[in-house]
Structures are given as C-alpha cells and as structure tokens.
Amino acid sequence: MEFSIFGIGILTWLVFVPIVGMIIILMLPDKNRNAIRWTAAGATGIQVILAAVIFAIFDRSKLGINDAESFQFIEKYSWITVEAVPWVGRIEINYFLGLDGLSVLMVILTSLIALIGVISSWNIQKMVKGYFALYLLLVTGMMGVFVALDFFLFFIFWEVMLLPMYFLIGLWGGPRREYAAIKFFLYTFVGGILMLLTMLALYFSVAYTDPATGQSVHTFNILHMMNPANYVEGGLLAGVDTTWRYVAWMALFINFAIKIPLFPFHTWLPDAHVEAPTPISVILAGILLKLGTYGLLRINFPIFPDATIYFIYFMAVLAMISIIYGALCAMAQDDFKKLIAYSSISHMGIVVLGIAALNTQGMVGGVLQMFNHGIITAVLFLAVGVLYDRTKKRGLYDFGGIANQMPKYTGLAMIGMFAALGLPGLNGFVSELFSFLGAFEAYKWITIISVTGIIITAAYILWTIQRVFLGKTPEKMSDLSDLTLREYLAFVPLIILIVLLGVYPAPAIELMNASLSHLVEFMNSGG
C-alpha cells in the first residue's frame, strides 16, 4: 500500500507533524497563547485526519508481523549505512516504518487521544509554550514507537518520550510532582537500559545476507531478527532455548513490564498519575501504557518465540496477580486518580493475560483491550479532571451528589465507569471477554482466579460512583456548573467509541484479525 503526500509517506507525516507543530510553537511569541494552543490542536488534528485515512484504506487481509512484504504504508530508507570493514561487516540502520494489524489500531488510538489531550489542556495557564512544545514532542515519540520497524528507531522513539514526560509531570504536576517525575523517569530509564543491551546483543547476533551484494549485514531490522536463519553462527543469541536468549527475553520483558505496568514493576504509576496534570494522565494511561504490551507483541513474542513459550506461564501468573492486586489496591484508595491508576494496572493485566494465551482470541482480546482501555481511562481521567478543575479536590470523600449538580457530566462519566467495569454493550466487555476466553483455553485456573477481578472491579467502581455521584450534595459543592463545550468535545468522541465498539466491535477486530492470527501461528510454529 502506497500513500504519500508531497512524496513523503503518510506514516512520516503522522510521526513528524507534531514536531513541525512544535517548531512553529517555539517560534511563536510567549504571549500568544491561543495561537500556541491552536497550533497544537492543528497538529494533532491533522494526525487524526491521517489516522482516519489510514483506517479507511488499510488492507485488512495483509498479515504483517514478520513478513516485510505484507506490511502497509512501508517507508524504508537507508539511514546509516557504513560499508564493510574487516571483522565487522556492514552496518545498517534503516528508517523503516510500516503498519500491520497489530499497530494500526494503536496509531488510531494515539492520534485520537493526543487530540483529546490537547483539548483538555486548553486551560493550562503555566508556561503554555513549553507545555505544548513538550506535549507534541511526546506525541511524536509515541507515534514513532508504534510505526517503527527498525529496532534502533524504535528505541530512539521510545526514549524520546522520557524527557517530555518527565517535564510534563515535573513542571505541571501536583504537589509531589518532583518525586513522581523522577520515579517515572528512573523506572523507565532502567527499562530502557535493559532494552538497549538486548538490542545490541540482537544486533550482533543477527546478520542477513544482502541479496544485492552477497554481503553479510548486521541490522537492527526487527523483521530480520524474527528469522532464525539470520542468526550468526556462534552469536550470543543464536540458537533456540539457550540461556542467553532467556536472559535477553527477560531483559526486554522487564522493560515492557515496567511500562505496562505489571506487578511488581508498577509502583511508579500511581504516583505519576496522581501528580500529573489531567491531560498528561490521559496520555499516560491512554497511550503510554500500551507501549509496553505493544512492545511485547512486536518484539518479545516474535523475536523470541522459544523464550516466550518458556516463560509464558510466568507471564500469565504475573498478569493474574496484576489483575487481582490492582483491583484490590484500587479498592483501598480514597484518591480518585490513584484509584483509576490502580484500575489501569488491573486492566492492563487483562491485556497481558490475553496475549499470554497465545491464541487468536486472547491476542485479539488483548490488543482490543489495549485500545479500549486507552479510551476508557482517558474518559475516567477527563472525568476526574473536570471535577478537579471545579473543586480542586480529588478525594472520593470530598464529593457526593454530583449527579444532581452536573447530570450530563454524570451520565458521560458513568458510561466510562461502566465500561471500565466491563459492562456488556460497552467496549470494555468485548475485549475482556475475548481476553478471558483466549486465556481460559490456555490456563484454566489462572483465568478463573483472574475473572474474580471483575467482581472486585465492580465493587470499587460502584463504590466510587456512590461516593462521588450519588447521595446528597455537600454544601460546598452546591454551585458546580455542568460541562462546557470544550469538555464536551473531549468527552463525546470517546463515549461514542465506547458504545460503538461495545455494540459492534467488528470494525476494530477485523483490522487486526489477520495479523494476530498470523502472529499466533508464527509463535506456535516456534518461530
């Protein structure tokens, strides 16, 4: 599939439009806040349009995963190539972007959430210019990760997200923002180092034979890494089921588990969420966490099928613990944001459980859950943000009777909460269903225990609704205004998606079905 604008591929536009926006913003005067905001909105808006184009023309039947030919919107340019020198061979790093069924949904999610993040950032007053510049940089990083097919590029985009996030939490966050920011930074940085080392080990273990010249070329190309034939004889990660492959898998896994976050690598998340400003929480929960599971599927699984299968049970158990543990922790919280943060841990656990099933239902469920959870938590954080803007409070016990004050807001927020609770008819249910169905096939008891998580989820969500929306209105909250137009703009698209995908998920599923089936097949044939 070729699609380009001015001779530049659509994915490049998608990734770098925010950077262009950032540069424009940096050139705008500080005072002109509206121009800055509109530039950011414009950049992310263009992304949404591009994503819509992609959604429209994406070929649902192509497989992707390990087959370079069947990726779509491919852009591949030589980035850094150094000719052969003795002992080393040729060095090659490519600018290699492409989409398959695994990433297309994430790209759509990212563009959407990014735009909604901008909308909900409208009332940020402090250092507007810096805020939006960093925000757009962050968006580029996230988008880049989802479309990169070269490990090096992947890594660059991955790490590009670090600093903007650090500043966005650290400068615009709550009282303990500094702690939260450094904690986030530290955790992810540790993961990054692990990934870097694994990436290097892979690089030196993989060399494909360039058909044109017959040279042996070391490459960061993720697709080449999936082919066992490309492993250099005697390379560190060559072979099947070797200790080093397990170690490498584990290193990558820890990196991604931190991002997901999976128990016990999760403690950065509640802090980061609590302190981050609303739009950043939206981005964090809506997109950033998905990078972890996406990374597992894009890198861990197909590159190390042997190690994945070796550790799969371990993964499923961690997922189970995350589901239960996250839900229990959520129940203990009396800070609204923290509650949602822990619920994210629980829900992302479902994703991991789904993909750990290594069958199509589970995979589809997992990836769909990534998308759905992105939308649902975005709604939930927006909901908290609306209340916080009006009352400067986040404690669950501070509220009550909001339903009387802000009925429309309550309606929308409750749809989000019910979706989080896994109510059928809303999107959360569909993906949880498939995840559990897939997982049940693979791990009977783990799944059964995990499913108890949905009871706990129901409990904490309902209590939250009760405390916040129901009951009598406290005196001090008697003059809250309902949603403004801008807030509607942020809420409504997400709510529509929640309902739409809950009722009829096929449009989302068919995007990824072929690719994920192929991935499952690939995994089960041992690579």
């Binding site: 080393v88 890594f155 650090y166 650290g170 500094e178 450094i182 940085f189 080392l197 290097l200 690089y203």
Partner: protein, 496 residues
C-alpha cells in the same frame, strides 16, 4: 638522514604551525596592548590553520622523524578533535570572567595553551617512548601552570600544586615503567617492543610490573579509577575553561596515547579472538586490567557524583565515569572497540564542553558554581537552560542525543566482544548517573529562583558558540553516519 628530516618537516606542518603560533604570541604579547584577547585570537587562527594543514594529511599512513612520529588516520582523527576542543576552549576563555583580573598575563595563558596543544598533538602521534614521555610532560607542564593561572585564588593555587605533585609522581612512576620495558625488550619505539614481545618472552613478571607502572601515568591523564583522585580537586580549583580542556582534550589525548601504546606494543596482531577482540601478548592481562579499571571508574565516578554540589566537581566525577565507559571500548580494542572509542570521544567533546560552557556562563552571571544556586535558572536563561539540559541528557545517554549514540557503540562493542559483565555494570551505573544529572535539571526548572527573577542577558556570540556545541550534540544523536564513517576510516594505526 638530512633528507628524511627535511621530508619529515613537510609532514609536520600542523605541529610546526602551533609552535610558530606560540612564538608569534610571545612576540605579540610584547607588542600589543595588554588587557585584550588579541593573543587569543592569534592562537585561534593558528589552530584553524593547523587544522587546515592537517586535512592535507588525509590518507597518509607513514612514520616520520626516524620512527618518532606516526602520521596516520588515527592521529589525524585525534588531532582534529583536539584542535576543535582547543578552538572551543579559546572561545570560552575569551568570555570567561574569571580570567578578567589576570588580563595583563593573558598572553602567557595562551602561550601555555599553545604548548599544551602541541604536547597533546604529539601525544597522540608518538611512537617512541621517549617522544611519548616528552609529549606527556609538555602537556602536563603547561596544564600544571594553567590550572593555577588564576593564582590569586587560593583554590586555584592549591589545585595547581596538587596537580603538579600528583602529576610528577605519576609520570615518574611511568618513566620507571618505561625503563623496565625498554630494558626487557631492548627497544625504545613501540614497534621494536612489539617485535621483541611477539618473538616470545617468558619475562611476564617484569612486563606486568612495567605495564602497571605505565598505567599509573596514563591512568592519571585519563583520570580513571584508581588514579583519578586528582581530578575533582583540580577541576574544582581550576578556571572553568581549563577544567573543560582537562576534562576533554587532555583526556582525549591520553586515550590516543593509551590506545596507540597498547594496541601496538602489547597486542598480538595475529591473534584476534573469535569475538573480534584483541588478544594481548600471552601472560600480560592488560585488557582484563583495563576492564577492571573501567568498571571501577564507572562505579566510583557515578556514585561519588551523587553527592556533589559544585557543578565542576560533579562534572569531574562524571568525566571519571565517562573515562570508564570509554575504557570499555579500549578493552576490546579491535576495530569495533576502536571505532566506538573514537565515536565516543568525538561526541563527548561536544557534550562535555557544552556542559562546562553553560556552567561557565552561569558562573559569569550568578557568580556561583553551586548546583543549589541554579534554582530557577531555567526560566531566567531559557536557551542556556535548555542547552544544559540537553548536554546533561546527552551525558546520561538518552536518545536522541549524541551521548546515546556514543554509549550505544561502546555498549555494542562490549556486547559483541562478549564482555557482558562489564556492560551490565555500565548499564547499572548509567542509571545511577541519571540521578545527579537530572538533579541539575530539576533545580533549574522545578524550583523558583532565590536570587531574583530577572532574565539573565547573554550576548549573541555566546549564544552562537552555545549553538555550535548544542547542534552537533543533537544532530549526532539522529544522524551520525559521517562520524561513524570518519571513525571507521581512522582506525588505521601506522604499523598495524
């Protein structure tokens, strides 16, 4: 004999130009008005000219002055980045307020700088132990004095004295090591030594001792654990411009020296292992030794930096840690390691000079080098704040900055050669390093200023210089193919 001398001179223009510039400065210092940086500009011109003549030597690979000096791509690479560093340091010095009160002696400052540059250029190209030692001493002597240039400052004086004592002892020990090596092998140039060693020797005991003693001197210059103790004290006491040149140029030159010395005299050229690493001459574990030193440097440097408040001191510890990272590449040495070291050094030049430069600019304005005093500076000096952030991020090694590429190649080389334990230590310590680098950033941005909120004014030229450091730091993180190519083509040492 005379013919060779004459021919050699034609291959020696860069050094000659630097020497001539030194003489010109001496004359100019007498003639021109004091209190101006005229001599500095002359030296700058000299460096630039030397750089141009250096480019004429591209592709040469020969030995001149009766095997004293090698003119090869390797030395060319090092000389180029040394001159680049020299040029930046002159530009720093011109703006430094620390030097203002010593303007009537500024001529001497630049003379010594010229001498130091000459010494460093010779360091990276010497192939004879005597020449090597002379170059080493020339560099050292100039830097001893430069460190104490602001001699009315107690700290500067103290660091100068510590430096000379430390340096004199280290070079003395190194000389003793040289004498043992010469005696054992019967040769004074590194090729002869290699020949003697390659022929087989059972004198491993004395050779090991001499290697250790030589490492004392070289380790001193590159400031690697356990020979690093001088660095923090001296960096803190020295004027920032000099601290910068010590942290960057002097270290780079010493690495050039170290690599040439070990890779030629002690490496078994025929014995490249399966993983691409060099085999040392049997019985001499110099690469393991260097590996241990690298690990120690990474650990000690990064851990100690956690507690520092003075930015120069912090950067000193950071540069110790970086010496450890670079040494990792030296351990592997072969093509991979060598390339990675050179890439690292090239990038290190920009990022570390950048960090020192911003520290100097801030020190000029707020009169303090304390990191605690940096609070609120991010808002008062946006460009400088962002620049320092990027430099520090680059030093940490986070993409898309040059520092990441540098680390990538070093780590990659180590992984490919199978030094996994070393890489793991490097990884862990990199995480630790995040703390102290980010502390500076945090202070700049997350806190309000305690000493006024008015924006700091910087002139255009300082911004231009800043960008000249900043842009390569960023650009090299995204597109580093030319450097890679350059480094790859520069790994040829004469005689290998």
């Amino acid at each position: 004999m005379v013919e060779q001398t004459l021919y050699s001179i034609t291959q020696f223009y860069p050094e000659i130009i630097v020497t001539v510039t030194l003489c010109v400065i001496i004359v100019a210092d007498l003639l021109t008005k004091k209190e101006s940086h005229t001599t500095g500009w002359i030296l700058l011109g000299g460096f630039v000219l030397a750089g141009f003549t250096l480019l004429l030597q591209v592709g040469r690979n020969e030995s001149v002055f009766f095997d004293m000096i090698a003119i090869d791509p390797f030395s060319l690479f090092f000389k180029l980045i040394l001159l680049l560093a020299g040029i930046f340091v002159i530009l720093f010095s011109v703006q430094s307020r620390e030097l203002d009160q010593y303007m009537n002696r500024i001529g001497e400052y630049y003379m010594l700088l010229a001498g130091m540059m000459l010494g460093m250029m010779l360091m990276v190209s010497s192939t004879n132990l005597l020449m090597l030692f002379l170059a080493f001493e020339l560099t050292s002597l100039s830097s001893y004095v430069l460190v104490g240039f602001t001699k009315h400052s107690k700290r500067s004086s103290e660091s100068s004295m510590k430096y000379i004592i430390y340096g004199a002892v280290s070079s003395g020990v190194m000389l003793y090591g040289f004498s043992l090596l010469i005696g054992t092998t019967g040769a004074v140039d590194i090729y002869g030594i290699n020949e003697a060693l390659a022929a087989g020797t059972d004198q491993t005991l004395i050779l090991n001792i001499s290697v250790l003693m030589i490492l004392v001197g070289m380790g001193f210059k590159i400031a690697v654990v356990p020979f690093h103790f001088w660095a923090p004290d001296i960096y803190e006491g020295a004027p920032i411009s000099i601290a910068a040149i010590l942290a960057v140029a002097s270290k780079i030159a010493a690495f050039g020296l170290l690599i040439r010395f070990f890779s030629i005299s002690f490496a078994d050229a025929g014995g490249i292992s399966a993983t691409g690493a060099w085999q040392g001459v049997e019985g001499i574990h110099w690469n393991l030794l260097l590996g241990v030193m690298a690990a120690l440097a990474m650990i000690v440097g990064n851990l100690t930096a956690l507690r520092q408040d003075n930015i120069k001191r912090m950067l000193a510890y950071s540069s110790i840690a970086h010496a450890g990272y670079i040494l990792m590449g030296v351990v592997i040495l072969a093509a991979e390691g060598l390339t990675s070291v050179m890439i690292y050094l090239f990038i290190y030049l920009f990022m570390n000079l950048g960090a020192f430069y911003v520290a100097m600019l801030f020190s000029n304005k707020i009169g303090s080098e304390s990191i605690e005093k940096y609070k609120g500076l991010g808002k008062r000096a946006p460009l400088q704040g962002v620049a320092l952030t990027i430099f520090l991020v680059s030093l940490t090694g986070i993409p898309p900055t040059g520092g990441f590429v540098a680390k990538l190649y070093i780590f990659g080389a180590a992984v490919s050669a199978g030094w996994i334990w070393l890489v793991v230590i490097a990884g862990i310590t990199t995480v630790i390093s995040l703390f102290y680098y980010i502390r500076v950033v945090r202070n700049m941005y997350f806190y309000g200023s305690e000493s006024g909120n008015d924006p700091l004014q910087f002139n255009v030229w300082s911004n231009v210089i800043l960008l000249a450091l900043l842009i390569p730091t960023l650009l090299l993180g995204i597109y580093f193919a030319p450097v890679l190519e350059f480094a790859r083509n520069s790994i040829h040492l004469f005689g290998m």
